[in-house]
Amino acid sequence: MNKPLLIEFEVTCVDRSGATARLTLEPVGGVTMPMPAPGQFVNILVEHAHNTFLRRPISVNFAEPGSLMLMVKEAGEGTAVLVNSLPGDRYNILMPLGHGFTLPEKPEKCLLIGGGVGVAPLLYLGECLRQRGVEPVFVLGARNRKELDWQLPDFEKIGKTFVATEDGSLGTKGFVTQCPALDLEADRWYVCGPMPMMKAVAAAARKRNVECEVSLENKMACGLGACLCCVEDTADSGNVCTCTEGPVFNLNRLKW
């Protein structure tokens, strides 16, 4: 796995929809960006926010050699600055961080289940699976059409995509757990989204006895396993750092 580095990035493109933006960033000065594994994240320094002290951890939405995409949803002052980025803005980014999704050794049936801004890392995961000969199937949840439709073409390029929206404005009405696509035969589920959604999906996975990995969003500081703030209480080892042993955990390790 690539060791974390501090790299200066420049924003080259900003796609915005409401309070969410997808930033495309490229390293400044010809520096080589270490390729992240799917499910890994970055820790980004937001210097021009008044009340922000720590870096902001953001999952990798997509990566290609020399180019990084981050999906950011405004949740406070730091993310607000990120969402309002303009091409040419620069950010100091610590990356790649954490332990990502487990890629199957041989082609398997994989369901990639996301909710809200949690769909972001599944795009990159889907692409990495596709490159390994897996045909990923996405099941994506959102509050409404507006939240998701601008991102759909990217997912659809990679794999079959099912959608559930709370207001029914796109796809199945309701939560992803109500989406019939969850009944598709699958060897492995990858899950990322808000906590209640992940817990509901995890319960469904347990019932179906399917291998399941979830990506946690515990509050963290360093991202390096030094501050011990972001711990998750695991069945096997007690408190472990989400930033280094996660953010992706096999469901069996969690006390959910």
Binding site: K3, P4, L5, L6, L45, N51, T52, F53, L54, R55, L94, N218, K219, M220, A221, C222, L224, G225, A226, C227, L228, C229, C230, V231, E232, D233, G238, N239, T244
Partner: protein, 304 residues
Amino acid sequence: MVNLNIDLGAGLKLQNPVMTASGTFGYGREFESLTDLDRLGAIIVKGTTLEPRQGNPYPRMAETPSGMLNAVGLQNKGVDYFIEKIYPEIRHYKSNIIVNVSGAKVSDYVETARRLASLDGIPAIEVNISCPNVKSGGMAFGTTCAGSSEVTEAVRKVWPRHLMVKLSPNVTDITEIARAVEGSGADSVSLVNTFLGMAVDVERQRPFLSTVTGGLSGPCIRPIAIRMVWQVAKAVKIPVVGLGGIMNGRDAMEFILAGASAVQIGTANFVHPDATIRTVEWIEDYCRRHNITDFSTIVGALNR
């Protein structure tokens, strides 16, 4: 050429005055790709206790204005694990390795120190009598002269090399505590540990930390920490190691001019993982700009 060496006495010689603060730099290894682990004054590793500790439940952290609260609660795998598994992997660093020692009872501190004494590559321990995040021990010792002396004296009997004692700022008069610790055999004092603080999630009407209160660190506390270092440096004869919200070389120089012979970089490591080495370089450049050839001459050189 600037000579950045500083001798803290009792065998603790630093190649430069920049150390890492315990609990903010893991065991160093976590920062291997980000900073030069051979070029620091010392790496003070995570707080180590006699028995393994799971620490406090999540959530353990809240961001605050120019700082953060933590309530880790000394999570670590215990001194034996450190001696057997971790020490062999980090002993090759050319920076001094200092172990931060904590305990719930005096005998815990003593036994932990005694076991560490077998490691000849550890020139110093830092006795933590100021952790605000544990139910017994920790800060309870560090807020009275008697408690501070008791721990220091007991550890002094079993620890043969440099003994640094880390003080709590949550006291009326930190010079009293510093003098007590000096009188009990400490070779240096480091200050300050975190301030006991609290933050509330007003929409959910509950504390952000599982433990309600936690330790406040970061640049927010720096002015108080500098004041305490200034007071203590005038009150004791042993060297003072300054910490509390140092983000860069400029901040470090505030402490040094106020009387700190060396500094520790703590929370800054979470924001700028290369903060330590950049601080070394800034101080070297500062000395050059101010025509200081020997770093030690600038310690406490504040003009009034």
